[in-house]
Symmetry: C2
Subunit: 450 residues, 2 copies
């Protein structure tokens, strides 16, 4: 019998092809570090769930079990609870989707599972998915697991660039690529913090129509705008061409893992079969909890509470960045959602700088994780959703000092050598934390996500 | 723009190869029928959750939200809550697995997701999986979604036949097949109701060793034995060669969807990456609920309560079958779990007989769903877990009458014509329900599973 903890994996030659490409995401890899109390984490995308009325939610869920245990503790349908699917249609109406039927909705274990299902239903190995540059790291993980290829499409302050989308489609067509869909996050983009303008929405859908392109619209943050009413979803413009992903993780609770996908009936049928093969059915208790929450609690008022809280944190972030960051640093100005996307001064590398930042007790997510092609070295994602404003200010102060020190180093030694130096010899006194950061995710740590 | 509800799926040519093979399972297809109140359903595998102390469980879960909302409503780690993984190791010790470490456990959305993850990590399209004949319908769905090929291995009253396993391995080797693992349910098999004997366990593991075969041990029912202490798991005999799947669906609640996989560390690492790509992390609330239940409630006593209840229902089933079934009908005698596997008299076909049974207000699952290769026409699965003993007796009475009538018909018209007659002309007055039965799963109905 082989040793219990072999140094070499005795099964190494037995895995599926898809398994060899799997690697820990930049975010997951940070866990063991950022969960230390002395570190201000601008890395994780954890919502501020303690702003919920926990006593009321607790009583509500307790009663669901005591009074309706025969349903809430039992298996449910693969497609999800019908009552919840009705309420999901009400929620989507807030973003202009007024023609959705509960029969077109599939409840999923977070919208992550929704994306995984859509990808499995559509993508064979080698198929192409178009996605913004940058894109959500968890989506890139799904696409990689499906052995799909990602072609990035440029975005600017107005969101996805329509001309770049068309160029990509022409290029793919010329190469004979099978483009299965465009994956896009139109509102308060993760990680870019950018929203697709009204004008661009029309253009993107016009191009989709012209090129017969399917669009997967991922919209976890759409109701979390700081300055205006929610924008009209892409799905509200085309019911056949857009598959819409939604989530209660940011408007209620991520720990319940309740998301959904809205798709034309023929696609929905495939998605139900796929989810039945994957999990049989989503948890009943969490579905009943969300439906009851929407039925009995002031959930729209609660979203306003979340918005105020995130707005204050966004303000703290932007004000501190403006006050403290050295010249040459730029960043996006989100008007909703959780994230600021920051570009370092020329020549700096966010991933190489990371050990120094952690030593200075501030954490972020390096930009390269948000690209499938190795771009993004000069970028980082800052999340303002979880820390209090004072922590945010302190975190940005620490980060600014690290960037300044990095700039000094860069000026003294030049970009390339500095980078190489630290990559080869990470264990200098100031940079002790390289291994936990770049190693596999420590799975005993508190999670994160989007 | 295409019509909203097109008769033809406009995306029909865009799906992945795996999607074309997906079809609704025999169980799912029954839902719309068996949920009618007048039908005695011996079809579904729903546990008797109302036997739980619902008030106590409700208070417990309510307090978890009110008092620990910051954890229970927040994202968790992809691998699952560390405290729960510790308690899972305690549970597995009841079946002789005393060397498991929480670091080798991954919490999943039911053991269905555990099997899906294992399959995705190991299987490329065309790879071979060995499985008992019959095997769990939900497992066959996972294997099909992975485009793996299933080779069945015969079982008898003592479980999987070792000689048949060896023959299958020799055959696969000769053909050059890549056999990725043996999938087996050693205890109170679904659907066969059979348990692998002690002697056979040793032989199966000896063969696995000799052929360097990985074994996936699926054990949702192991603690639900009526007559004796739980048997020693295959995993207790070999920690490197066996990947073990467990579930709280039958010992606590299926509506929480908490299962797990225990695997060697190198495999576990792949499984964590795969589950992160699929769902990010399992729901926090349901994991805390199970851990707290194990910590504070008399869960082993509760399992005894379940056992008494299921034993009584098993007895009602076996007594009624013995008293009422016409000669030529045979069935297994389970000493635990949920299922009896029944073989019809020669020439009868359980699937063709199904519309008549539903007309007579009794439902079962036709055997062919439990085979990947079209075998099993003469078999059916009867579940005694959910209906009360009186309902079971009435259900078996109705079923016996249907079988007798079917036998008469068979004697009069001969096997083949009878079958063809009903398959071609299903809408006779006695057989009105063919379409809902054989159509896609109606997703508005209450679910089922294993």
């Amino acid at each position: 019998m082989p040793a219990r903890h072999p140094r070499l994996d005795p099964l190494a030659d037995r895995y599926a092809a898809r398994t060899h490409g799997m690697k820990s995401s930049e975010i997951r890899a940070l866990f063991s570090v950022v969960s230390r109390p002395e570190v201000v984490s601008l890395a994780g995308g954890m919502p501020a769930v303690t702003a919920l009325p926990l006593d009321a939610v607790g009583s509500m869920i307790g009663e669901l079990v005591s009074g309706m245990g025969a349903q809430t503790l039992q298996y449910g349908s693969g497609q999800g609870d019908p009552r919840l699917r009705e309420r999901i249609c009400d929620v989507m109406a807030l973003e202009g989707i007024t023609d959705a039927s509960p029969s077109e909705v599939v409840v999923t274990v977070g919208s992550q599972q929704a994306l995984d299902l859509v990808t499995r239903v559509f993508c064979d190995p080698g198929d192409v998915i178009l996605a913004e540059a940058p894109s959500y790291v968890g989506a890139l993980g799904v696409f990689q697991a499906a052995q799909a290829r990602v072609q990035h499409v440029a975005m600017d302050d107005d969101g996805l660039v329509p001309e770049a989308l068309e160029d990509a489609l022409v290029e793919c067509r010329a190469r004979g690529d099978k483009v299965k869909f465009l994956y896009t996050i139109p509102n308060f983009h993760n990680p870019a913090g950018i929203t697709l303008t009204e004008e661009r929405r029309a253009k993107v859908m016009e191009i989709a129509d012209r090129y017969d392109l399917l669009v997967v619209e991922d919209n976890p943050y759409g109701l979390l705008g700081f300055d205006r009413e929610p924008m009209r979803a892409l799905r509200a413009r085309d019911a056949e061409r857009v598959i819409y992903l939604g989530s209660f993780s940011k408007t209620f609770s991520p720990g319940l893992r309740v998301g959904w996908v809205l798709a034309p009936l023929a696609v929905r049928e495939k998605l139900v079969l796929a989810t039945e093969a994957q999990v049989l059915c989503p948890p009943s208790l969490t579905q009943y909890a969300v439906a009851r929450y929407l039925d009995t609690q002031p959930w729209q008022q609660q979203i306003k509470t979340f918005i105020e809280l995130y707005r204050e944190r966004r303000d703290a972030t932007l004000e501190s960045l403006a006050a403290l960051m050295p010249p040459g640093t730029t960043w996006t100005r989100p008007d909703g959602g959780f994230y600021v996307w920051l570009k370092l001064p020329d020549g700096l590398d966010a991933k190489l700088m990371q050990p120094r930042a952690v030593s200075a007790h501030v954490a972020y997510v390096p930009g390269i994780g948000f690209y499938a092609d190795g771009q993004g070295k000069e970028y980082m994602r800052l999340s303002y959703c979880y820390p209090e404003p004072d922590q945010i200010r302190e975190g940005v102060r620490r980060l600014a000092r690290v960037v300044e020190a990095e700039l000094d180093l860069h000026t003294t030694f030049g970009a390339v050598d500095t980078g190489r130096f630290r990559a080869v010899r990470p264990a200098t006194p100031q940079v002790p934390a390289v291994e936990p950061i770049t190693g596999p995710a420590s799975s005993d740590q508190v999670g994160d996500q989007p």
